[in-house]
């Protein structure tokens, strides 16, 4: 289900825009005021309308309705009457231990996947940035997880994890462990195993974004550092990473949102098991809406998640902006 979100959302992996992008409205405003005369302002409308009208109708309107549902007792059913209930859903939610437990799992999942995805993608981007042979092939292969239809991705991974017939188990045995392992079904390994798949799925977009950033860097800074005798690692930490910082901030925060919203993948792999170890909050609210028909409560969960995630991002991005100022 949420695959929709993930798939459609992925393109934005590219959005690693930098300071001069739209992010901080203030600085940009001053600039445009100087350059673009005020009277031209309305000329923007006809340019924007063809894009914004359908969006307002087909995206914003349902979204607002969705948010409103969170303050009602809406349920699935023919001729159900919906009542406005104010904050009642939120009071109930405070007592819902299972929801908060899944929220905790969601945070562990989203942070681990985002961080690992970033580290792995940075490594790959650095390699692809080198003048290696067969680079064209490597770049294409790096996009594989993105090209495979999401419908089959989880099924292929579940096959590979199969303790009887999957290759992963025979590799584990090859490492000297004996017996059959169902990494997806074991209490200690289920979450790490789905995290690996999560990292795999999101790597192409993160890699390409970082690679673009790397290639756009001013090479003279690198050369200067090299002349100063800085080693590869020091150059990475002191030259490369600081200049990539705006892109890193943008891509990691978007990755975080998408990872937090992910669940179709995990649903096929583990259905939230074993023992609820991989019950991500989005899976939880999906069940609430689609399995039990409690639309109001599910929308309330959505609202709570939006609030918390937006607040976290605000602090994350605010600090970034301050550092860069």
């Amino acid at each position: 289900m949420n695959a929709t979100r993930a798939e459609i959302a992925r393109p934005d992996r590219q959005a690693g825009r930098s300071r001069s992008g739209p992010t901080p409205p203030d600085g940009q405003d001053a600039q445009s005021r100087r350059k673009g005369p005020r009277r031209r302002r309305n000329e923007a409308l006809p340019l924007l309308l063809p894009a914004l009208l359908p969006v307002a109708l087909f995206s914003m309107f349902p979204l607002v309705q969705g948010i409103y549902l969170g303050f009602t007792d809406s349920r699935a059913g023919l001729d159900q009457v919906t009542h406005f209930t104010g904050l009642e859903n939120y009071r109930d939610l405070l007592d819902n231990g299972l929801f908060w437990e899944s929220f905790r799992i969601g945070l562990v999942w989203a942070f681990s996947v985002t961080i690992l995805q970033f580290v792995a993608s940075l490594g790959l981007a650095l390699l692809l940035n080198q003048d290696l042979r067969l680079r064209w092939l490597a770049r294409t292969l790096a996009l594989v997880p993105w090209a495979m239809p999401p419908v089959v991705i989880a099924i292929m991974w579940r096959m590979m994890f199969n303790p009887n017939s999957g290759p992963i188990n025979s590799w584990v045995r090859g490492l000297g462990f004996s017996g059959d392992f169902n990494l997806l079904g074991d209490f200690n390994t289920a979450l790490p195993a789905v995290i690996v798949v999560g990292v795999w799925v999101g790597m192409p977009q993160t890699t390409i974004t970082l690679l673009a950033g790397l290639q756009s860097m001013d090479s003279s800074m690198h050369e200067a550092a090299e002349v100063d005798g800085a080693g590869a690692l020091r150059r990475l930490v002191h030259v490369t990473l600081p200049s990539l910082r705006p892109i890193i901030a943008a891509i990691t925060s978007l990755d975080f949102i998408w990872n937090f919203n992910q669940f179709a993948l995990v649903y096929v792999l583990t259905r939230g098991g074993p023992g609820g170890e991989t019950m991500l909050p989005m899976l939880f609210s999906y069940n609430e809406a689609f399995r039990y028909g409690h639309y109001g409560m599910a929308a309330a969960m959505g609202n709570v998640m939006v609030l918390i995630i937006v607040a976290m991002l605000f602090f994350y991005l605010r600090n970034r902006l301050r550092e860069n100022a």
């Binding site: 289900m1 798939e7 459609i8 590219q14 923007a44 914004l52 914003m60 017939s165 950033g213």
Partner: protein, 280 residues
């Protein structure tokens, strides 16, 4: 230090690391490729083999016939292409407007992109369905295209506006001095400079639409209008029963066009990303 001391050793380490990455990223595709050529007996074997011991082609025939892959592929192509054209046509002027004019729409658009990202799509599915029904757009590929376009649009907007920001204003003002109109500036000056960025945005939009499943599931009922992901799930049954061979074969056939496309344009794509992401 070490880099210059042992250039060849570093190089080989880099190749090893790169190979590691490619195995990690490419292996599931390889496994799918292998699965597509295995009989159901071999798939039920307990010795995992990457090279099928007795490769067969039946799965491909099965996938093409039973899932009506060619017809579904044509539908998918139609929807994905139309979505791409629609998104580019709508976002290009809008991105330009957002970047070059000061307007209150900018902060509104940006906040909407963020909140729209976080709020779960499943919760807006039903209101959206009702609106589409008002316009008789359910069970129609046009309706599906509009939904795909609307959901891909913010990201296209976000990306293109980044690429436009990177184009120096002087270039444009030179045109204005020559007396060229707005539209002509957009078409004859901005567009050529933007080409790589447009290619990248188009590619992202195309893939997003090509692979989209949920809306294709709930909006489309007429089997003549099924898209690829929608028709592939017919090989997935209850209780984790999966007809793996045909599923893998079908998925492979659905993946290859994107990969070949990547291969052909990867140079241009990277270049596009470069000029787009160049410091703004």
């Amino acid at each position: 230090m070490s880099v210059r001391a042992h250039p060849t050793r570093t190089r080989s380490l880099q190749y090893v690391a790169l190979a590691g990455y490619l195995i990690f990223l490419g292996f599931p595709l390889l496994w799918m490729l292998s699965t597509a050529f295995k009989s159901s007996q071999e798939l039920a074997d307990i010795t995992p083999r990457l090279i099928p011991s007795d490769p067969i082609l039946d799965n491909f025939g099965d996938a093409i016939d039973r899932a009506d892959l060619v017809h579904a592929g044509a539908n998918s192509l139609q929807v994905a292409l139309a979505t791409t054209v629609l998104v580019i046509a709508m976002t290009l002027p809008a991105a330009y407007g957002l970047v070059r004019y000061k307007t209150w729409l900018r902060p509104v658009t940006l906040s909407w992109i963020l909140i729209g990202q976080v709020f779960p799509v499943i919760l807006v599915a039903i209101p959206l369905f009702l609106i589409l029904d008002q316009f008789s757009l359910t069970d129609s590929l046009v309706g599906l295209t509009i939904v795909h376009a609307v959901y891909a649009l913010p990201f296209g907007l976000w990306m293109l506006q980044g690429y436009i920001t990177a184009i120096p204003r002087d270039v444009e003002e030179a045109g204005a001095v020559d007396g060229a109109g707005r539209l002509r500036i957009l078409v004859s000056i901005i567009l050529p400079l933007l080409r790589p960025g447009v290619v990248a945005t188009a590619l992202f939009t195309f893939i997003a639409s090509w692979n989209e499943f949920f809306f294709a599931l709930v909006l489309i009922q007429d089997p003549d209008k099924y898209t690829l992901p929608r028709t592939l799930v017919r090989f997935v049954g209850a209780s984790d029963q999966v007809q793996l061979g045909p599923l893998a074969a079908g998925a492979l056939l659905a993946t290859l066009p994107s990969l070949v496309f990547f291969l052909l344009i990867q140079r241009r794509l990277t270049a596009g990303l470069l000029s787009g992401a160049v410091k703004g």
